[in-house]
Amino acid sequence: MAKVIPLRQALIGMLAMLASLAVLFFGNRWSDTLLHSSGPPGARWLGVALAVVSIVPWIYCLAWGVAAGDEYVQHIALVGTALAFVLDLLAHVAFNTMVDARLLAPSSYLPELAAAIACWVVGCAIAMLYYRQRP
């Protein structure tokens, strides 16, 4: 860890991250069930709320991890997030263009959350490599 944090705190952080991923996974599954149910609109609204709220613990864990780091880690995360924004934008434009060009089936869709996570990971990796390799 960037700043020295106690092992106990690091373990709690890791467990919280795993728990947040479980909330994300099961929250989305439950949300899908509600969204595709033939019940009242209230159930679908609950599905929408659940889809959004289930992401929050994971984002909180990420933010905690970045905040626990030193300024070098935070700088890399900041640059990586900016890169991720651009990568996500490019991925969406590329995907939509491929659908328009009928290179992909019209019914295909880009999994938003997975794309965002992948872009953030790639963005941070690029930022880290850049700060390691720059002259």
Partner: protein, 66 residues
């Protein structure tokens, strides 16, 4: 920006990890500052100069292109 971290560290026989612990940052951060790949914030620069019991100007120096 040039710096004399490596020299000052060697004079005291401190590792990057030890220096990092003294100022509250990681070994990677010290390495990045030392090799000029990352410019530290003002608080970190002040902390570094404080642990070496000197001034910021004697640790960090601007280069002509900066």
């Amino acid at each position: 920006m040039k710096n004399r971290l490596r020299v000052l560290r060697a004079e005291r026989n401190w590792s990057q990890l030890e220096l990092g612990n003294r100022v509250g940052v990681s070994r990677q951060a010290i390495n990045a500052v030392e090799t000029g790949k990352f410019s530290p914030s003002l608080p970190l620069a002040l902390k570094l100069s404080r642990v070496f019991e000197t001034t910021v100007e004697k640790v960090f120096e601007l280069e002509p292109g900066d």
